[in-house]
């Protein structure tokens, strides 16, 4: 089953994609690494971030890996490059 989620791009990832946000349709059950690979397919320039990035799903951090996400319609998925606040 597929679902539509809202992807938010910040900092370097927004520069690489040229986007602040977009809606995409992906399988509801997908690992965080598969989701990232889907985003890389859409925006190949994102690949430079692969070893540094984490996701935030519904505003909670999720590292790239085998963790299975359960995405719901309208969920917010954010691309989180290395932090530099403070």
């Amino acid at each position: 089953m597929n679902t539509e989620v809202s992807v938010l791009y910040f900092a370097k990832s927004a520069e690489l994609t040229g986007l602040k946000a977009e809606n995409i349709t992906v399988p509801s059950n997908i690992t965080s690494l598969q989701l990232w690979q889907d985003l890389e397919n859409r925006h190949p320039r994102l690949s430079v971030l692969r070893d540094q990035v984490v996701l935030a799903v519904r505003q909670e951090y999720v590292p790239l890996g085998a963790q299975l996400l359960t995405l719901r319609q309208g969920d917010e998925v954010a691309i989180i490059p290395p932090l530099s606040g403070g």
């Binding site: 938010l8 910040f10 900092a11 370097k12 520069e15 540094q52 935030a56 505003q59 954010a78 989180i80 490059p81 290395p82 932090l83 530099s84 606040g85 403070g86």
Partner: protein
């Protein structure tokens, strides 16, 4: 707010930050100590002259992570009274504050330790990003090392 209740003040703003405003917001008659940390923007990075900085945040999540930090502080240092965390967004001129943290407690040890924990944890967990724009060369998104 009851006079005896600890207050968490979290502010993300494009306005200039003020140490006095943060200090006043955490003042309380039963507290003997206020510890403040002010992060300021630097004019150089590895020899390159920085002419401007810009901060960007994932605002709702940044606020939520800052609230988690406040909650952790209250668990670790129960005597802490008020916590105020202000982070500036958008363009921040050189030498101006990008972040001010103020924490009050009856005795100094707690607020001193808590303010240290707060800035360390903020840098590690709060989704905020800084871009440095140099006099010459490409702008650069920074990365907190520690």
């Amino acid at each position: 707010m009851a006079a005896d209740e600890g207050q968490d003040v979290i502010t993300l703003t494009t306005d200039k930050l003020s140490a006095d405003a943060v200090s006043e917001s955490v003042t309380c008659p039963s507290c003997g100590a206020i510890s403040l940390f002010i992060g300021t923007t630097r004019d150089n990075f590895e020899g390159k002259k920085v002419i401007q900085l810009e901060y960007e945040a994932y605002i709702p999540m940044a606020e939520s992570e800052l609230r988690k930090i406040c909650s952790d502080i209250r668990t670790k240092w129960p005597s802490v009274r008020h916590i105020s965390i202000q982070h500036r967004l958008g363009v921040v001129p050189i030498t101006e504050a990008s972040v001010i943290i103020g924490i009050s407690s009856p005795h100094r040890n707690d607020s001193l330790e808590a303010v240290r924990y707060c800035i360390d944890t903020l840098k590690a967990t709060v989704p905020i990003w800084k871009k440095e724009i140099y006099e010459s060369g490409e702008p650069c998104w920074k990365e907190n090392k520690e």
